[in-house]
């Protein structure tokens, strides 16, 4: 489903060039559950952003579901992000003025789906995540675990093929962490490809495939 070949990513920091990714080769099969681990600055978040089409590599090739992404126009990349890829962030990134339901509906709104259908689909996803009585609450009225579950509902409402989670439990207590990981793993079991970036070994150990990174290169996995 995903194939990376010789991915390079360079950042200019002041006068210095930082090599965030160097020669990364990676293949992911559909339905895999992968954790990306490594010390901070090892390039794991950068790799996640490249996988999520948020970032473009300086060199190398990236096939997403057989499509060579280097040749895609920015608009097509945006469409792929919307329809095929879901993101879950450490800091949730919910819009504070919108209710849980409206946050979940955002990708549907961007896709131009009518309000009635949006409402129904959001309700279904929120119900599945046990948030039915929280649908009309704003994020500041929700607990951290509930917020992350809303974010997961938003990431999965368009039934993507790939779910990318960047430190999804970084801001959560132990109980909520376990809860969120369970939700993510259930989604994986239903066929979603799941990539989790973390530096918490306990979270990382849960994945079937563990990739370790150091200095922008994959050292194992």
């Amino acid at each position: 489903m995903i194939r990376l070949e010789g991915i390079e990513r360079l950042f200019q920091v002041g006068d210095e060039q930082v090599h965030a990714l160097r020669g990364v080769d990676l293949t992911l099969e559909a339905g895999e559950y992968v954790s990306l681990m490594g010390p901070s600055g090892s390039g794991k978040s950068t790799l996640l952003n490249v996988l999520g089409l948020l970032d473009r590599p300086n060199a190398g090739r990236y096939w997403f579901e057989g499509i060579d992404t280097a040749e895609l126009a920015e608009e097509r990349r945006a469409d792929l992000r919307r329809d095929r890829i879901g993101f879950v962030f450490q800091s949730f990134h919910l819009i504070g003025r919108l209710t849980a339901r409206e946050n979940v509906e955002l990708p549907l709104m961007l896709a131009g789906i009518a309000p009635a259908e949006r409402h129904a689909r959001a309700s279904k996803v929120l119900d599945a995540l046990g948030l039915e009585d929280r649908a009309d609450h704003r994020p500041d009225q929700l607990s951290g675990g509930q917020r992350q579950r809303v974010a997961i509902a938003r990431a999965t409402i368009l039934e993507p093929a790939l779910l990318l989670a960047d430190e999804p439990t970084g801001n959560l207590d132990k109980h909520s962490s376990a809860d969120v990981m369970r939700v993510l793993e259930e989604l994986n079991q239903s066929g979603l490809t799941l990539v989790v970036v973390t530096h918490d070994p306990e979270v990382g150990e849960r994945a079937r495939r563990r990739i370790h990174m150091e200095d922008g290169a994959i050292v194992s996995g």
């Binding site: 945006a78 992000r81 504070g96």
Partner: protein
């Protein structure tokens, strides 16, 4: 994305961040109001000066018999004495399209008496048009009737001082007075005023021109006051008057028409300066309003970089994100402009009450300019930072909070 969703999204963004929205509305409203109020003030000052000058008689031409120009040619052998201007001439002049108002003046001096009281006064013979040309105002009664120029009606309008002398505090309207041995009925009394055309207007009796000619036993008119049909037609009115007189006087140009050139030049200078100041005031307030709006919009959009990053990550296209911010900025600008206009109307109304002598009117162009600037700067500075954010690396945008 559906248009109603775009509108709702923008509306929600504005209504939820209440403090920021009010701040931006205030900035816009103050900008718009400043433009409208300041231009109304400037324009009012301009109108005020313009009115004052036209009441000084800038549109006025004076025709007198004889040529006052010195010419290099030898003195004419025939027709040495200029012909008089008659009431028939005046009637002919009335037909000129360039001339709005025309009043002949016949001047003389005669004793005016009522019962035992008598006073030597100036007698002005004229017509109804004199009231408007000289901006005379009546304290009571009415002015000379607008009837046939040649009809010598026994009617008189008295100056304030003369009325006081003859009647004291008794009413004068309808009473008969005597000029020499002729009787005239008083039909009006003027308000106390200063001098006009070199005559103390308080100490006069104004009677119809034909009556004055009969009284002084003359066929001639001392002066003709001509009011041109607008300031820009003064030259045309002068030429037309001269042409008519030349035609009637056998091709001889034996009258002189005096325009108030010095006064006009001064007026033009002041008027131009005032116009420039109004334009300057408008330009500066537009600029200030624009910068005010620009700043608030810049801050507002920069605060929401993370939101832009999120929308990109969720698959929002650059154009969609721009559209969202554009509509939000548009809504804000419209509301701000509406608020500003209300503020401006209230301001102009208040100023009108404190400065009643200033003719305050909101010039329509200033409303248009204010709206254009608020919408223009609002959209421009709502979209420029949003575009920068939309083009930003979403990774970077997401991590800014």
């Amino acid at each position: 994305m559906r248009p109603d969703d775009v509108l709702r999204f923008g509306g929600r963004a504005l209504t939820s961040a209440r403090g920021r929205t009010w701040l931006m509305l205030l900035a816009m409203a103050i900008g718009v109001a400043a433009v409208v109020v300041l231009t109304a003030l400037g324009d009012g000052a301009r109108r005020y000066v313009s009115n004052e000058f036209s009441s000084l008689g800038t549109h006025l031409l004076v025709m007198l018999p004889g040529r006052t120009e010195t010419s290099g040619a030898a003195p004419p052998l025939v027709g040495g004495t200029p012909r008089d201007i008659t009431l028939e001439d005046v009637r002919a002049l009335q037909r000129a399209r360039e001339i709005r108002l025309l009043a002949p003046i016949v001047v003389g001096s005669a004793p005016v008496s009522h019962k035992q009281l008598e006073r030597e006064s100036t007698i002005l013979g004229s017509t109804a048009a004199m009231l408007d040309i000289r901006n005379l105002e009546l304290a009571s009664g009415r002015f000379l009737p607008d009837d046939d120029l040649l009809h010598a009606a026994p009617l008189a309008v008295l100056g304030a001082k003369l009325k006081q002398h003859l009647f004291g505090n008794q009413p004068a309207l309808g009473e008969w007075i005597r000029l020499n041995d002729r009787r005239y009925r008083v039909i009006g009394v003027l308000k106390p005023m200063g001098e006009s055309i070199g005559v103390d207007i308080g100490d006069v009796a104004i009677i119809p021109a034909a009556s004055a000619q009969a009284l002084f036993d003359t066929e001639s008119v001392f002066r003709v006051l001509i009011q041109a049909d607008g300031r820009e037609r003064i030259g045309q009115a002068k030429a037309a008057a001269l042409a008519i007189m030349k035609d009637r006087h056998n091709g001889e140009e034996d009258v002189t028409v005096i325009t108030q050139d010095a006064l006009l030049a001064t007026f033009d200078g002041i008027f131009q300066t005032l116009t420039f100041s109004v334009v300057g005031i408008a330009a500066i307030s537009l600029g200030v309003a624009g910068i005010l709006i620009m700043n608030v919009m810049l801050v507002s959009v920069s605060q929401r970089t993370a939101e832009v990053g999120l929308l990109k990550a969720l698959g929002g296209r650059e154009r969609q994100i721009l559209w969202l911010f554009l509509v939000e900025a548009g809504l804000l600008s419209l509301a701000g402009a509406a608020l500003g206009l209300l503020l401006a109307l209230a301001g102009v109304w208040g100023l009108g009450r404190t400065l009643p002598e200033l003719p305050l009117v909101v010039p329509p162009w200033s409303i248009a300019a204010a709206l254009l600037v608020s919408l223009g700067t609002g959209l421009l500075f709502g979209v420029l930072p949003a575009r920068r954010a939309a083009r930003l690396d979403p990774v970077f945008a997401l991590n800014r909070r």
